[in-house]
Amino acid sequence: MTTSGDAQQKVEAYLDRLRQRLRGMNGGDVREIVEELRSHITEKAAMGGEVNAASVDATIARLGAPEELASQYLTDDLLARAQVSRSPLRILEGLFRWASLSVAGFFSLMGTLLGYFLGTTFALSALLKTIHPHTAGLWSIPDGAGDYEFSLRMGFGSAPVGGREMLGWWIVPAGLFVGCGLMVLTSRFALWCVREYRRSHALPRRSP
């Protein structure tokens, strides 16, 4: 099997781009992925005899663009790891990597961040109520124009002027329930986004 310098360069350029897009994944995993694909490209491109630029191009085209392929690896990795642990940190870590590669990933990350933020806020105000019993909780505060606005307060600083605390100690069970519920729903939302993406992308296709 002979490989022209040009063909070799194309292989390396493709693998370099892929390696860059996989940044953030475990280094050992990235090396394995790159070596496996190098082996695939080399062998597949040689099936017609000599490995040349054209046969390498055709093989690479069937693998897909490095961004797309990296997205597949990252989302598959996220799904597999989420099956083992649904820790929000783990899910966010995967989404951050994916967000750098695709618009779908970016919006999934934004939605997930918002959900986790709201969930954490509810849970925190519930927990801080035990430390700041007079100032933490759900407050209704007059906005001066005759309306009221609601504020979920952590209880640092003084109580808002004219405000009224609405839930009292009920914020503890209610905040924990809503907060934990939001965290669970947000994790489900994130995994749903990933699955939908996987369902609509990289579809099996017929050989040309």
């Binding site: 394995e32 070596e35 080399t42 392929l69 598959d76 990795d77 990289a202």
Partner: protein, 125 residues
């Protein structure tokens, strides 16, 4: 014209459904391809193409192999080939074997019930 558009839409839905169906079978197909022993990526792809109607892109199979390995349904090892480059071989773990058995049982039950339901439709053509 409206009719035409609808017919086109129907065709597209049919294609999409077929694609989803094939994709849904891919995990089982890979586990089944490895039932008799270890294979490397290109061999798995060739096996899927020769023994089934599942023509899939390499860009789908390799990440899926990696996911199945993370889930500990597959294990892998590097073996030096005659051609001088290493190949990554995959084999079923006991968990993977169990999963393949379960999925095959569900598949057989499901396809038998569908066959019964579809018999009149097939005759009707």
């Amino acid at each position: 014209m409206g009719m035409k558009t609808r017919a086109g839409g129907g065709q597209e839905t049919g294609d999409k459904w077929e694609v989803q169906l094939r994709k849904g079978c891919l995990e089982l197909a890979i586990l089944a391809a490895l039932w008799d022993g270890k294979l490397y990526g290109l061999e798995i792809l060739q096996r899927l193409e020769s023994d089934s109607d599942l023509v899939v892109s390499e860009g789908t199979v390799y990440p899926l192999l990696s996911r199945l390995k993370t889930l500990e349904l597959l294990r892998s090892e590097w073996v030096e080939s005659d051609g001088g480059h290493p190949r990554k071989y995959y084999a079923l773990t006991p968990g993977g074997r169990q999963r393949a058995r379960e999925m095959a049982a569900i598949w057989t039950r499901f396809s038998a019930s569908m066959d019964g339901l579809l018999a009149p439709v097939a005759k009707g053509k």
